[in-house]
């Protein structure tokens, strides 16, 4: 099963995302900020990254930019969790190389549908 790196500084969101994905059989790796996620991504490959945007240490957009620079993440789908209120964030994310976004608030089914869509 595909492996997914979930990144969020909010424990409740991270738990929800991880629980949902694990329940669907994915192998989920969790990280609580961008820097930590980048460290994990460098040591092991993942098939998909789902990251929150606003985080301490390294935000999600920087993480996406950094990941895209790594050869093994050139084509990996990188999704950001964002809120409706920030169209400029989407723009910045896209410029950094984000594949797409999941708009908060979302429910587990929406999350799973998007993940299935991206992972094919």
């Amino acid at each position: 099963m595909a492996s997914i790196l979930a990144v969020d500084d909010s424990a409740s969101m991270l738990q929800m995302v991880a629980f949902t994905l694990k329940g669907a059989g994915y192998d989920v790796v969790e990280a609580t900020d961008g820097q930590y996620a980048l460290d994990i991504a460098k040591t092991r490959g993942v098939d998909l990254v789902i990251t929150d945007v606003n985080m301490p240490r390294m935000d999600g957009i920087t993480l996406i930019g950094e990941l895209r620079k790594l050869p093994s993440y050139k084509f990996t789908p990188l999704l950001m969790l964002t809120t409706e209120s920030s169209p400029e964030k989407k723009q910045q994310g896209r410029a950094a190389g984000a594949t797409g976004w999941i708009v908060k608030p979302f429910n587990p089914d929406q999350l799973l549908n998007t993940v299935k869509k991206v992972l094919g």
Partner: protein, 695 residues
């Protein structure tokens, strides 16, 4: 797949309350005019997380409210809006409302919608004033509708930019998704495909002409292309039966699926399995007791748990070593046995200490409320006050954290209200306009000391005495030391504020403050100098589960007297003892008459060795401001004892506060000093006795 979202609620509430604390302290530190962007960012982030979580977990009212706060913070963060004192105050008040909303929601209660509405209006007012938010106008894609409104489908021309796949978007995926909406015919345009020699395998060269039939809304198609709208040229036009599709006419028969299928998104092949899968890094923070009722839980720094686990490991090793030795014990091993036992003892003691550490929380849990309190009150009173806090990391027992809050609030309020003068008054007295209140916490000799110090006007000795005489608390001709006069403020119903203010209440507090502190096994003292300031020093035991005790013997029984309550131990002589009418047996200790409590009588010990006063010892103890002499056979020694509750194991017995198990396995009872003094039936305090004597 249905997932019960309720299972994440507690975590959401916990982190949201943490977020609120971050917002509050951040806002308090914020300097209007020149705010630190990183600081605003951290406040914004907290609001943002609360909003995201509350939306996701279905608390829409919280999400809506936080959204307005977030918008304001966002504008401040981007520099589109000045950070004004007014805006900060409104945000602080909003944090309070948000806290109420979260608390109510976590308790399945309702928060007053009017209050929320009013606060939201305040935020909107701030948002409406000043530099307006730059509206991001969404480009309005003019949609051509079919004249006959009998649209049969959509004609889509999709031309990915060469770099599209490098965002992880696979054109084929999008086409497949379109296919899932309805009947799709696909034509691939190979025109831009380069010869193999110039071909860049990571780029996209194809474009597609798509006809999608069915009752499909434009939004459904927009959704599919949402992620890539900037990474491709896209035209979406309705197909109307009467007219031909406006864009590119499909002349040739649709080709079979593109042969030139570019394998997109190569999954990273080298997957190094077994990489470290650290679980989410729980910051080693400890959480204040859950706001919403329920069981009292504690979040413990992971390092403390690690130490404990390590210790258990050591203990297991020692245990197995000893049991191996026990299997075939030979007297020659006696030396090793001793070593092993010594090791066991050391590990047990270390383990006891580290288990105790788990109950310890940094005093910052209590201190954290003060910046806000000082900010709000000083604004209200028109005083300029700086709060300095040191030693926030000092660790105290969890119960102390829970119980010391209210007394501290009371003392700080007093300092602000009665201590620090108005700015003009301060200037006139040659002091800086801004007053200072200090909160310090530190360890000293097995105690925790908390100091509340201000540089205000100090306690007015004469005024205090005058009031006390007026209220009949002391005789009019009493001669008291400064310290004794200061102690008067702890008497019930004593207030010197000329007008009762809503800040420090009505003088019902100080006696309660002292009682609360005493209940924690602590004490409070006052130092003050007219015109210079006052300080209140609270001394608390390090932990409530362990007590420093003095063991005393009465007959064959051993009792524990809490060391903090002991003043001294003396041998009484005949000439020191008096019988006072209605007061029973007393003895004169320096200029003071103290009641004698014959413990063997109260506790019913029949085999006491000392029946006459000159045969035993008097332990002079103090509790709740009163003193007495406890008559015992002998002093044994001092030791730390672990307090076991009597109520939990038996029932409450007056005069006893608990029990402990001594080294030899026997049970010793711990004396409740204030209770014993009350039992001695002496209502008058040592202090007023002193007054009576001087009078």
């Amino acid at each position: 797949m249905t997932i019960d979202m309720a299972q994440f609620h507690q975590v959401f509430f916990d982190e949201s309350f943490e977020g609120l604390d971050i917002m509050e302290s951040g806002l308090l530190e914020m300097d209007p005019g020149s705010a630190d962007p990183e600081q605003i960012n951290s406040i914004f982030r907290a609001a943002h997380s609360i909003k995201g979580g509350s939306g996701t977990f279905g608390f829409t009212n919280i999400a809506d409210f936080t959204h307005v706060m977030e918008t304001l913070l966002d504008e401040m963060r981007d520099g589109r809006r000045q950070v004004t004192a007014e805006a900060v105050n409104v945000l602080l008040a909003s944090v309070d409302v948000l806290r109420e909303m979260l608390t109510a929601t976590s308790e399945d209660a309702e928060v007053d919608p009017e209050r929320v509405k009013a606060q939201k209006a305040e935020l909107d007012r701030i948002l409406a004033g000043g530099a307006a938010a730059v509206e991001v106008a969404e480009p309005d894609s003019t949609e051509e509708a079919c004249a006959s409104s009998e649209q049969t489908g959509w004609h889509i021309v999709f031309r990915p930019h060469s770099h599209m796949m490098r965002t992880g978007n696979d054109p084929l995926r999008l086409i497949r998704e379109l296919g899932s909406l309805g009947e799709l015919s696909v034509e691939v345009d190979l025109e831009s495909l380069l010869p193999l020699s110039e071909y860049e395998p990571e780029d996209s060269y194809l474009s597609w002409d798509l006809h999608l039939k069915g009752d499909i809304s434009k939004e459904q198609i927009d959704d599919i292309f949402d992620w890539v709208e900037d990474d491709c040229d896209l035209s979406i036009a309705p197909i109307c039966p009467a007219q031909k599709a406006p864009a590119a006419a499909p002349e040739t028969a649709s080709e079979p699926a593109p042969k030139t299928e570019i394998k997109a998104a190569p999954a990273p092949d080298e997957r190094r399995e077994g990489g470290d899968r650290r679980t989410s890094d729980r910051r080693g923070s400890v959480k204040k007791p859950a706001t919403g009722g329920g069981t009292s839980s504690i979040r413990v720094d992971i390092t403390k748990i690690d130490v404990l686990i390590n210790m258990v490991g050591e203990l297991v090793i020692t245990q197995s070593m000893l049991s191996m030795m026990g299997e075939e014990f030979d007297i020659s091993q006696i030396e090793r046995l001793r070593e092993g036992l010594a090791q066991l003892e050391r590990h047990t003691r270390e383990m006891q200490e580290s288990v105790m550490q788990i109950r310890m929380l940094p005093i910052s849990f209590t201190f954290s409320r003060f910046p806000r309190l000082v900010h709000d009150l000083s604004t209200k009173m028109g005083k300029q006050i700086e709060l300095k806090m040191t030693g926030e990391t000092t660790e105290v027992d969890k119960t102390v954290i829970e119980k010391i809050g209210d007394p501290l609030v009371h003392l700080v309020r007093n300092s602000l209200d009665h201590g620090i003068e108005m700015p003009e008054e301060r200037v006139a007295a040659g002091k800086p306009e801004q007053g200072t209140v200090e909160l310090n916490a530190y360890h000293r000799g097995g105690n925790i000391i908390i100091e509340i110090k201000d540089d205000g006007k100090g306690l007015n000795r004469d005024l205090l005495l005058e009031k006390a005489i007026e209220r009949g608390l002391v005789p009019s001709d009493a001669i008291l030391s400064d310290q004794q006069i200061y102690e008067l403020i702890f008497a019930a119903g004593f207030s010197t504020a000329e007008t009762v203010s809503d800040v420090s209440g009505r003088g019902v507090g100080m006696d309660v403050v002292r009682r609360n502190i005493n209940e924690l096994g602590g004490s409070i003292e006052i130092h003050s100098e007219m015109g210079v300031g006052s300080s209140f020093i609270i001394r608390l035991p390090l932990t409530l589960a362990i007590l420093d005790g003095q063991t005393v013997s009465i007959g064959s029984e051993t009792y524990i007297v809490p060391l903090v309550s002991i003043i001294e131990s003396i041998q009484v002589k005949e000439n020191m003892v008096n019988m006072l009418a209605g007061k029973g047996e007393t003895f004169k200790l320096r200029e003071e008459y103290l009641p004698i409590v014959r413990l063997h009588e109260i506790l019913g010990v029949n085999d006491a060795k000392a029946k006459e006063l000159n045969e035993g010892l008097l332990v002079v103890v103090e509790g709740e401001g009163r003193r007495c002499g406890l008559f015992v056979d002998d002093l044994l020694g001092q030791q730390q004892v672990v307090i076991k509750s009597l109520e939990a194991n038996y029932r409450k017995i007056s005069g006893l506060s608990g029990a402990t198990i001594l080294g030899d396995g026997s049970v010793a009872l711990i004396l409740d000093i204030p209770g014993l003094i009350r039992m001695a039936g002496n209502a008058s305090s040592a202090f007023s006795k002193d007054v009576r004597k001087s009078a």
